[in-house]
Structures are given as C-alpha cells and as structure tokens.
C-alpha cells in the first residue's frame, strides 16, 4: 500500500519535472529572450550584450535551468523581466486571490452539483433529469465570456444590483472583494458545477445499474436505506477525482473569467505576462499552475486509494 502511494508520488514528481522541462524548453525555443523583449528596438549591439550579461543569459541553458529549479524549490523565483519586482511578490497575492475565487465557487457549486447530480440520476430520463442535464451541458460548453457578459448586462447594467467589474487591488484584504466577487463566482461555479454534476450523475447511474443494487432491491432493502447505504458511498467515491481535476483547472483555467471581471488573480497575471513578453514571469506562473494541478490530482488519487477497499486490495495484490 505504502509502496503504491510512493509510486504515485514519484510519478507526480516526474510529471512536474517534465512540465518544467517543457516550459523551459518552449521559452528557450522562442525567438529572442527576456532582453529583446524588454529593450525592444534598442536590443542590439552592446546594450543587448550588457543586458544579457546582467541577467545571466549568456550562460549555458543547463546552468540557468538548474538555477531556476533550485531557486523555485526555495520559493525564490528571481526578478521579473523588467527587473522591477520580485516574482514571488507579484505572484503571492495573485495565488491567494485565485484561491479565494476558487474556494467561493466550490462552496457554492459543490452542494448544488451533488444534490442535482444525485436527483437527476434517481429520476433518470424524467423531466427533472432531462432539464438538469441539458442545463449542465449548456453551462459547460457555452464560453465563459458569453455567460459573464450576459450576467454583467443583466445584473449590473439593467438591474444595477451588483458591480460588473472588480476594482479592488490585488493586495487588498479578503472582505474588500465583496460584493464584487459575486458575479465572477457565479460564472465560475456554473462551469464547475456542470462538470461535477455530470460525473456524479453518470457514476450514480452506473451503481444503480449494478448487480448488487439489484440484489438489494430483490432482497427487499427499503429504498431509502438502499440509496443511502448501498448506492451513495460507492457512487460518490469516483467523483473525488473529478472534483480534484476541476479544482486544479480552476487555478489556471479561469483566465477568461478573471480577465472579463478584471479580477486580480493568477490567470490575469499570466495573460498580462504573456502580452508583456515577461518570460521569467510566464515561466514561473506556468510552473506554479502545473504543479498545483499535479499535486491536487495526486492527492485525489491517494485519497481514492485509501477510501476504496477494492482498489486497496487490488493494489496490494499488484504490488
């Protein structure tokens, strides 16, 4: 069992290393470097050489990669390309803000997703199921900027109930984000809820179709007891993984929502870093987002492993 968990952890670490190589390689392969991006048309001759020397860009790529990784492990990501701020400073508040947005969206979305996912499965192919499922598909695939724009128009433009954009600065305390954060949370939780709801529903259906549930029905187990004791625990376990995927995706994938609402999170930092060609910052944000993704998934894997007796024994047998 321990061996298996260790194996997962090692695989996760390997994935992060691979990601860092992909990011670093991609940025190396770009035409130009941090200096040409900052200096722009002045980037020639001596100015360029001096700048490259100052940033240490004249050293071989392997040295710089090693430096970047060892720095990142200590939480020191160096300076941004414009040499105006430490990256750790820039990123810190943004990570917290993205976490706040994500946590609020989860708090709203999780109960709704589980409640309606379970209800839809229990009322399979009836009116409730059909309407819940179609709303979920729509919420999932309509681009976020569309739902955000419509919501801003209705609740901010026409009704005037809520502020349409966030004007709070990145480093403001949490309470300053209310009520500005409400609309972004609604849009984000719509997408998220839809994903989780569909997983809950299909995993419920699978369990409801299984032999042991049919056996329990034949045995005369009361409906309520059967759902609570036999169906729910087995159906909700696989949902852990999807919740994890969604949470991880929240941190990086909310770029559009953060941009629409002007929300000072990690996603918008990433977009502005890319349009400023601040490669040092891009590199770091990408690494953070990818690491979070891997770590959250890993935790979900381990959690599922620990919670599911079937996987547990299968794992011990395999190991």
């Amino acid at each position: 069992m321990l061996k298996l968990i260790l194996r997962r952890v090692a695989l996760g670490a390997l994935t992060i290393v691979l990601v860092s190589l992909i990011i670093f390689g991609a940025i190396e392969a770009l035409p130009g470097d941090a200096c040409t991006a900052v200096l722009q048309q002045d980037a020639r001759g001596e100015t360029l050489l001096n700048c490259q020397k100052e940033l240490g860009l004249d050293r071989p790529a392997t040295t710089r990669y090693a430096e970047w990784i060892s720095g990142s492990l200590r939480g020191d990501f160096g300076m941004n390309a414009h040499r105006t701020k430490r990256i750790s400073e820039l990123v810190g508040d943004r990570v917290l803000n993205s976490l706040l947005l994500g946590a609020c969206a989860l708090a709203v979305g999780l109960p709704v997703a589980f409640l309606f996912g379970i209800l839809a499965a229990l009322r399979r192919d009836r009116a409730l199921d059909l309407s819940v499922s179609s709303i979920a598909i729509a919420a999932m695939t309509i681009p976020e900027f569309v739902s955000a724009t419509v919501l801003i128009l209705v609740f901010s433009g026409w009704l005037g109930w809520l502020p349409g954009i966030v004007t709070t600065s990145a480093s403001a305390p949490i309470k300053d984000f209310f009520p500005e954060i409400i609309l972004p949370v609604v849009v984000l939780s719509m997408v998220m809820t839809a994903h989780i709801l569909r997983t809950v529903r299909s995993s419920m259906l699978e369990v409801l179709d299984s032999d042991y549930v049919r056996m329990a029905t034949l045995k005369g187990v009361p409906y309520r007891r059967m759902i609570l004791v036999h169906v729910l625990p087995n159906a909700l376990l696989p949902a852990i993984n999807v919740v994890a995927l969604t949470v991880a995706w929240l941190l990086g994938g909310v770029v559009v929502i953060e941009t629409v609402f002007n929300y000072p999170g990690l996603g918008r930092l990433m977009v502005s870093a890319i349009s400023d060609r601040d490669l040092a910052l891009v590199q770091t944000v990408a690494l953070i987002v990818a690491s979070v993704y891997v770590i959250v998934n890993l935790s979900a894997d381990v959690l599922t492993l620990l919670a599911n007796p079937r996987l547990r024994t299968a794992a011990t047998r395999a190991a």
Binding site: I23, I142, V146, L153, S202, G267, V271, I274, R277
Partner: protein, 300 residues
Amino acid sequence: MSTLPAPPLSLPARPGAGQRLLQTLRELMARPSGAIGLLLVLLHVVIALASPWLATHDYKAVSAINILLPPDAKHWFGTDHLGRDVFTRTLMGGREAILVTAIATPLAVVWGGLLGIYLGLVGGRRDDVLMRVVDAFLSLPWILKMLLLIVIFGASTQVLVPTLAFFYGIPVIRIARAATHNVVARDFVLAARARGHDHFTIMRRELLPNVLDALMVEGAMRWSWMLLAFTSLSFLGFGVSPPTPDWGLMVADSRTYLPIAPWAGLYPILFLSTLIIGINLTADALAKTLGVDKAQKAPI
C-alpha cells in the same frame, strides 16, 4: 469416422462504410436532440458559407453618423460602436471560427486517435514514457499553451489550425488508448497477433473499427471545446484581428456599450451559443446512438 460438414463459407455481408454512416445518420435524426442539433450545425455551416452573399452591408464599412443604432428596417440587428452593420458582421462572424475548428478537429482526432491506439496496443516502456509526457502537457492550462504559441507565431489561420490540432489531439490520445485497452485483450486481437500480423494491420483491421465510435463522439466534443477556445482567444484579443468580423471579438468590442446597445453583443452571443448547443446536442445523440459512454473532461 465421419468428417464434419464444411462450415458455410458465406457469412452475412458486412455493411459497407457508407451504408453504416447512412444508418448512423438515420438513427441520429430519429432522436429529437440529434435532429435539432444536426439542423443547427448545418444551418450555421450554410450561413457561414453563404454569408458573403447574404450580407446586406459591407462588413467593414464604418459610419460616424450611424453609431449604435437600434435594429430597424435598414440595419436588421442594429449597428455597433463604429456604425457597422451588426447583421452582416454576425452572419460572417463564424466563418473563421468554423473554418479553423472544422479543419483542426479531424486532424486532432486522427493523430491523437492513431497514437492512442498504437500505445494501447504496444504498451510497455513506450506507453509509459509517452503517457508521462501527455500528463505533463495536460497539466498546463490550455490557454497558456495557446497564448504562448500565438504570441510567438501570430494568430493566423496557418498557425491556429496546427496549434489547435496539436493541443486538442493530446486528450484524444487518452480516450483512444482507454478504448483500445477495452478490446486489446480480446480473442480476435490475440488471434491476429498469433497470425503474425504486424502492428499496423492489427490497428487497421482489428482495433480501429472498435475504437471508431468512441473517436467520433470524442471528435464532436472536441469540436465544441475548440470553438470555445477559438472564440475565447479572440475575445481576449489574441485571435482574429479586426476588422475581420468574429463573434468573440464582437462581444469584446461591444461590452462597454451593452447597457445602451445590447444588440451589438447579444446577436453574436445568440449565434455562437446556438452553434455550440447544436454541436453538443449532436454529440450527445451520437453517443447514445453509438452506445458510447461519453468521457466528459474538463476543457484541457
């Protein structure tokens, strides 16, 4: 000793590919969601193709005196903040998006599908190593990957098609590999291996026919994710460049004026949403028709 009678040689003829496609199409149309979805998609494709002839105005004609006019007999959907005709621009606003994604989707499904089937068949070290790389790619948010390439190479069609095809093929590898794992241990694959067929023949004759249904459903889903990505990029200002009409760009441009001129943004939103809903209804009906469990993933 009596010999066994020779087994009858004539097996029932297998329906040809064209016939099977027609059959699937017929079953698809028999479902309300399939019929509505397919109709919506067709309608959008026809509009996109015919829009230059359907348009009532010049899509880039600016007019200072006709700014933000409400819909009337001359401008059916009103005008935008530069006095351009919203009807014309909405009709033409899906051309780039549909063209790019309609080319990139099959490319993504083909390369991701073939690689996934191959990895599912051979397994072993090659499978382990490549799946690590796939995981690494999937752990980067799609928008970061897209933006990086667009910032370097620009957002022209020649860049967007291979970029979308590449990144959206990666999740297809997983789907195809998983679908292959479901059949690769079955007797007929074992028999093909025993007959000494090479990987390519086994993939083509034994695996592909069994994975094809899953790939078709996956392709339909990928198409809607790609549209989402494409229009989101234009919305963020990294996609189609003005004055080319594009739904994402139109929504972005009209956002400031929405409370006073909602038509400038709501018509493109209506068109984009109906296309995406159409694709999803079709994908849903297709999955039910083919009996494929739809693997719903986050838009990676």
